[in-house]
């Protein structure tokens, strides 16, 4: 029977465990709410992974990792698709721009990061296509899944805790009115400052995450830290129409509504 199902029933960590134990070869396709991810495996080891339409070419990965300069990257791009990743890798090594270790380490890091992002997916459908391998022109890595699974389990726990703390990303943030809270005396890292710079009751946490180019886990992690430090608090976003509760009062008349509440107060007092 084909390996397919819903992430609600079978998590990414459980899937990786199964692929590892069964030493499977093939492609895991996960269709999330917004994009699709693919992870390729050979005999239970991760060969390559990608999410959505991200540029996964070797040149782009090395450029993002600062192993290639903007000029070198542009020159490679101008050559178009005439050179495969494997050929490009050889060219770069022979030209002395990067070492073989650089290439493998960065490809491993890229695929590892993709899997880490996948761990935050809790909704979606998956299927495992047996024997479907990554395209021939890709440089495959051989990543043991054990460490990824352990890291994934940790991340899943953290994700669950963060979801408990910040259940909705559609709420906004505002700075607390505490007179003793002074942002200048707080040691924030670059990522945290980026988030802080967007804090405004008009921006939802989701919008801040998008603007700061952070995934749900990353933005939740930073917001959680700011909440714990007492620097910010969650509020309803400004300018967003407040969802009108479904007929709270049986009457539209404001005076009648007040009278009704007063009747309730009188009744409760008399209990």
């Amino acid at each position: 029977m084909a390996l397919r199902g819903n992430l609600r029933d079978f998590t990414i960590t459980q899937l990786l465990n199964l692929i590892n134990l069964a030493r499977k070869t093939g492609t895991l396709v996960v269709e999330g709410p917004n994009e699709t991810a693919q992870a390729f495996f050979r005999e239970g080891k991760l060969a390559f992974a990608q999410i959505g339409r991200e540029d996964t070419s070797l040149a782009h990965i090395l450029f993002k990792a600062n192993k290639l300069s903007a000029g070198q990257y542009k020159a490679i791009q101008q050559r178009g698709n005439s050179v495969s990743d494997k050929e490009l890798g050889l060219l770069l090594i022979n030209a002395g721009y990067v070492s073989q270790d650089d290439i493998l380490a960065n490809l491993q890091q890229y695929s590892t990061d993709v899997i880490h992002r996948l761990f935050t997916w809790v909704e979606g459908f998956f299927r495992f296509d047996n024997d479907q391998l990554p395209p021939d022109d890709r440089i495959n890595v051989r990543l043991d899944l054990e460490n990824l699974i352990i890291e994934g389990s940790r991340q899943l726990r953290e994700w669950e805790q963060l979801q408990d703390e910040i259940p909705s990303l559609d709420m906004a943030l505002k700075f607390t009115a505490r007179p003793d809270a002074n942002m200048r005396n707080v040691n924030l890292n670059v990522e945290e400052w980026r988030v802080v710079s967007y804090i405004n009751p008009k921006n939802t946490i989701r919008q801040i995450g998008n603007a700061a180019k952070m995934n749900d886990l990353e933005i939740r992690r930073i917001v959680y830290g700011l909440l714990q430090a007492g620097l910010v608090e969650i509020c309803r976003p400004e300018g967003v129409p407040i969802p009108q509760p479904v007929r709270v009062f049986p009457t539209e008349d404001k005076e009648e509504q007040k009278t009704l509440v007063n009747r309730l107060i009188t009744r409760i007092r008399s209990l």
């Binding site: 259940p167 709420m171 709270v248 509504q257 509440v261 409760i268």
Partner: protein, 180 residues
Amino acid sequence: MQTVKMVVTGPFSAGKTEFIKSVSEIDVVSTERKISTKAEKTVKEATTVAMDFGRITVDEDLVLYLFGTPGQKRFDFMWEILSEGMLGFIVLVDSTRPETFREARSILETFRAYAPTPYVVAANKQDMNDAWELEDMRHALRLDPKVKFLSCVAMDRDSVKTILLELLYSILAEMESGEK
């Protein structure tokens, strides 16, 4: 007949069913089932799976319904349904179980996201020896100083009355501030 409703929410075993039982004029219509998991069984034997339902008749034209939400997370799909049209809500927290504070905070945020209605937070089981101090709980729950955070004993009718009244005062205050 006019009807209004309030929701009593909070983590598993916070005392929601007891809270409603204390003031309801009818036997609470409870949807309790025996608990299946070992960890939860050590806390209590049965839990609410759909909702609790209590009633207070105000006069011949007006009835207040009290809905208690299921506390276990796997039944949280009921929360949004129960929150529809509520006048306000009460978040009940077990003062003796700090391990539930984070969940209480999460439930509070979830209900705030559903509807912008007034709410109060009640620290239940304050009569127990191992109950946390209110001020410590306020910090642990990260409650804004403006949020009403009240001591509560859900089995004591007067205590429950106070919580309901405080919520009604908040509702009234919000209506009056909205007119300014």
